[in-house]
Symmetry: C2
Subunit: 710 residues, 2 copies
């Protein structure tokens, strides 16, 4: 599939001129009965064609025995026949030019080998034709504006979703349906919903892309369990980003237990959560930890619009109670938000409205705001005027439920919206539905929970940062790597050095005289290492000597090293002895790249030894990364202070380390077809301005990695 075709051909899914239903049934509890019922109940305006062996009337509509008998070729086919009949139906649809087919039927890859084979054949129909296929084993799709309904979701039993600009995509039908229902409960209007199920053709990336391209969608909510095509997902995320649309993602299967459950549920390997997290972050998706926050953040984004997304993480908090102020300060801190002191002038303004207020931040307006609610307008204005904050949270536990207070509050908010149109003001409040709707219409997101309110502000902030981040780096051309590069440490370092990775000066000596010549050129101290394609662990055969400080010692250690190796590894082919400048001092990093089966090369960095291995203190990102991203990776390490002059140490050359990470990451992408894994252990980072050196390097070829797996 061409990369440019992600999400292609799905318009017919959401606004088809006509819909055929294979397996249409009179029984509205059946998956073939419900879509038909919904289409009629909610007034879909296009042609509806039930297909049913028995023909006659189905739910009082003329039914047809086969697709061939229809008066026109439907744009959309909903397939709800038993699994054995699905392939035939799909083939007929493709043959006759149906644009999209949705297979609601289950009984495919989730049921084992045989189901998987059948599903694969169905997928082939899509790849061999212009027709797209959604499912099987999915909950289908809804196009809200056109009332196109290709789903049996129980969420439609009570009512049709209110029209709006929030799109919902989900692999799990249940989670998608639940999200739809929650959206309805919160008064959040929906544009489209698409669940992808077993994904024989249309996958979650297509689903995201189709909403990114839809002018009626401004916010995309996504429930994701797995990803089968990393490049497609990255491209879909880029499309959302280019369209300026926030993509909020709930990734399920985070824990080991969850991943295992997801794998057994979707039949696809969910991939490591750390990799997913890095990919989503890099793609500019807003990851949220719960379905509740998926809704809160989505709702807030739809209410706020791009113009009011805050540019920084400084928040002012206004409450009518010290206790809530403390809770909000805690919750804000947990989200990385800061509460700066308000300007002196702001504090004066607050005190002039309520003399006993706590005017710093959080602002405690005190119970005065209940007895004299008119002071709220002055408070809001004072804080909204203050440039020391990027956003404002107004907390109210009860005011919007008290008629006397409600109207004054609404008035004050209307005024501040007029006077400060670009300010993000989020209400952490409980309010009746109608009041909340009014507040939303005025551009104020309303979040009930304290933690959720701060998490929502933080998510808006991340969305703003995504929009300001530079565009993706230029693509890197793929190139194969010569087989010789994989032979030894020396050959690996040679190609890495060429790619810009700093390695110590070194030379392979094939005789003592060559070693001596190299030593004279480099100067002492030196390190000697055996070079052999047959020796993976050099120290185990006595093949390393560190700290040669004179010519005499060089002669002695050169000979001793060869003798040790000859004794311990008599059959190893010896290519020579590596003579390398010895690097002293510095902090040891481990640096590497590994190809994720779904997302391609990932670059990883951590501090050497226990930090990476025991404390799991590593940073991970899809390759390539530029120097700034590499610096951010280093700074994200808990042990970063060790590079940054903690405990009286000298500062390390973080810039050199970042350059090395970036160079490694580009190398990993360029040679992704031949290189499976790269390990630099250690990369020694010297004091600021003195550089970094890859002291050891290992390249694992794709070929080798395949062999290791078998």
């Amino acid at each position: 599939m061409q990369a440019t075709q992600v999400g292609r051909g799905l318009d017919a899914l959401f606004k088809p001129r006509s819909i055929a239903i294979f397996g249409a049934s009179d029984d509205v509890t059946k998956i073939g009965g419900r879509p038909l019922q919904f289409l009629q109940k909610y007034g879909y305006a296009g042609g509806i064609y039930p297909i049913n062996r028995k023909a006659g009337l189905v739910q009082s509509l003329q039914a047809y025995a086969s697709l061939a008998e229809l008066p026109e070729v439907p744009e959309l086919a909903v397939i709800a026949v038993p699994p054995a009949g699905v392939l035939d139906a799909v083939q007929e649809c493709a043959r006759r030019g149906v644009k999209t087919a949705v297979i609601l039927s289950a009984g495919f890859s989730e049921m084992g080998e045989e189901g998987s084979r059948l599903q694969a054949r169905i997928g082939e129909v899509a790849r061999a034709s212009a027709m797209r296929i959604v499912g099987p084993n999915c909950l289908g799709a809804i196009g809200v504006p056109d009332k196109s309904i290709a789903t049996f979701s129980v969420a439609l039993e009570s009512s049709f979703p209110a029209a709006g600009s929030v799109g919902i995509v989900s692999q799990s039908g249940n989670l998608g349906s639940f999200t739809l229902r929650l959206a309805g409960e919160r008064g959040l209007g929906v544009s489209r919903m698409l669940t992808t199920g077993n994904e024989c053709d249309v996958d979650i990336a297509d689903a995201i892309a189709s909403l990114a391209a839809d002018p009626g969608t401004s916010v995309i909510l996504c429930c994701m369990e797995t990803c089968r095509d990393g490049a497609k997902l990255m491209q879909a995320m880029a499309m959302a980003r280019e369209a300026g649309k926030p993509l909020v993602v709930l990734k399920v299967g985070v824990s080991e237990a969850g991943s295992a459950a997801a794998a057994s549920h979707t039949g696809a390997l969910a991939g490591s959560d750390a990799v997913f997290d890095a990919v989503l972050r890099q793609g500019g998706a807003l990851r949220v930890p719960s379905i509740e926050l998926l809704l809160e953040v989505g709702h807030a984004l739809s209410v706020v619009g791009p113009a009011r997304v805050p540019g920084g993480h400084r928040v002012a908090v206004l409450t009518a109670s010290g206790g809530f102020g403390v809770l909000l300060a805690d919750a804000a801190s947990a989200q990385g938000l800061v509460l700066p002191k308000l300007a002196a002038q702001t504090q004066e303004r607050i005190l002039s409205a309520v003399p006993f207020a706590a005017p710093s931040n959080p602002v405690d307006m005190t119970a005065q705001v209940s007895s004299r609610p008119e002071v709220l307008a002055r408070m809001l204005d004072a804080v909204a005027r203050d440039d020391s904050c990027d956003a404002l949270i107004l907390q109210s536990a009860n005011a919007f439920h008290v008629p006397r207070l409600r109207d004054v509050f609404l008035g004050a908010l209307e005024q501040v919206r007029k006077d400060h149109p670009a300010r993000l003001i989020l209400l952490c409040a409980r309010a009746p539905d109608d009041v909340r709707a009014r507040l939303n219409a005025m551009g104020f997101p309303v979040v009930e929970g304290i933690d959720a309110a701060c998490a929502t502000v933080a998510a808006l902030l991340r969305f703003g940062a995504r929009n300001r981040a530079p565009a993706a780096p230029p693509a890197i051309d793929r190139a194969p790597l010569a087989a010789e590069a994989f032979a030894t440490e020396a050959s690996a370092k040679a190609v890495l050095a060429e790619a810009g990775l700093p390695v110590p000066r070194e030379a392979i000596a094939r005789s003592f005289d060559e070693a001596l010549a190299a030593a004279r050129e480099m100067g002492f101290p030196l390190v000697l290492k055996i070079v052999s394609p047959d020796i993976a662990h050099k120290t185990e055969v006595g093949g390393v000597f560190v700290g040669v400080r004179s010519e005499a010692q060089l002669r002695e250690e050169y000979n001793k090293l060869l003798a040790r190796v000859a004794l311990k590894a008599p059959r190893a082919r010896i290519a020579g002895v590596l003579v390398a400048q010895m690097v002293q001092g510095g902090v040891e990093l481990i640096l590497g790249s590994k190809k994720d089966p779904v997302f391609g090369p990932m670059v990883m960095v951590g501090l050497g030894g226990i930090f990476a291995e025991i404390l799991k203190d590593v940073a991970l990102q899809p390759a390539p990364v530029d120097e700034a991203q590499a610096t951010a990776m280093l700074r994200s390490l808990k042990a970063f202070p060790l590079l940054d002059g903690a405990r009286g140490r000298p500062k390390a050359d973080v810039q050199a380390a970042a350059k090395a990470i970036a160079a490694l990451s580009r190398f990993a992408v360029r040679h992704a077809d031949s290189v499976s894994e790269i390990d630099i252990n250690p990369l020694v980072v010297l004091d600021q301005g003195r550089g970094a050196h890859a002291l050891d390097a290992l390249l694992v070829s794709e070929e080798q990695a395949m062999k290791d797996k078998q």
Copy 2:
């Protein structure tokens, strides 16, 4: 105050025979008007005596100009007069034998110096009499069974709390009131509420104790901002524990920003969150991170009762959807719960009910449970029977809202309750209020959120663990420590060694001959250290030599060390040279104790160097701890694998380290009056069975700590 008096004399607050209201007002928006209104509206049966300068009728009750004119001495006085009149009112109450006074008026310590002085004088009235005083600047108290109302909380405007067994205590009036309102919304019955405000006398510990002693309260919910008397709080927690009542605590002011806000709000230093956390944990309180979870956990505990608290962290999850199963598996993992594989027999039973179910764990009952809900009973029974799980979570997004499903579900749950009465079964479900109430009555907690459901199970588990934990260790008698102990490392180590802390063999040599004699007795290698009360940093004056390996070297280094010190610190008094066995290898811990101003000596342990200082990887607990607790502290370190044989290291002598921690903690308590701080850096822990050694020790006296503060 005697320790046994925590919470004393508060019965009159919750079930007074009569109530007087100072500052009683006709205006029901005033704090002097509302209690009077509430008492009449909700039918308090005792005597109600408005006190008002103008006498006459107040809210149609006979008012009195002063306390003296009342027909009886009221047991409870509610004081709602301006701050300047409060002291007089309180004094009169005390003089006439009022049992408890609640000061609702504000304008005291929260308003600065003058207010603090006035408040202190009010507090003295309580200490000088038998009368207890709640407040000032508080929201007062409610005794639900007796309809005793000494509050102006707006939560009472709409309705009086339903009677139940959940007690609420809070320092913040607003948080207390909000908790009360949320309890009402969730159908949670309340026994008592008490907010303590500025705490001139009755504090949060008294409040907890009064509920621990109340037979009508079974669960205590607490919102805490600060603690002014650590010993009292610990005793109150012990009372709750002894009464078998869960104490659920929301501690606000967790972050730096939050602490700062709390300090400015309560006028008390909130203390470090790490210390609070350790104290609450040790006291067996169930700390929760949000007000929502305060309610969820409290509700669950009131529904479950002690008999169904799970004994282990193995959970079975039943869902009707794979996606929700994955979400629950993630959430369970995040809470430290595990999802074991169900027994083969259980899986067979599940599959015999629904052949296409995912029978492992999470169990995906599939949509079958909607089309054939009668299978639920068999599923529940199969899992409840399985001893591989300690608790069961049944998830349902919608079934309880669908009449057809609801009744079948309720029937199945009724049956499983009958067949497995002791099983904890928590419903992660949305349900209409009446259905939820029925489920609660059957002993099933109902939690809507997925994360909240798992957090609630984890909290129940912690409650169960508290009940099984051994009782508090026997008290340690206080004893002063001789001033000489603080003089030098050697003197500090001597007293610590006596207390059971392992130190290397060592001796102070006042001459070379003494050094030689000591060396001959101990054997080489040795360490030499200068001993001087005037030298704090021995290495800085060249006062340490490590690795003396022969008598000749001893002579040389002994003399050189003294010469270096004489040169660098010519005026220091030299007490001799410490000759100590040199300890080689091992892992370095830092171990210490520091007196918290509120909670007394805390014991702390971490790995040496960067772990404790940069990664903040330390464990903290109130002293004393026993060996088991000390072991748990070590195991809680992220770097614990370094002691436990990670990366091919030998296992360290964790038992010896735990013994050292326990010994240090007992020493810290015994000498808490004279010792402010103890630092052991390092405690070297050798390989398993080879012990641990405190290589250096520092004792800081109370006296010294005071000086340092000035």
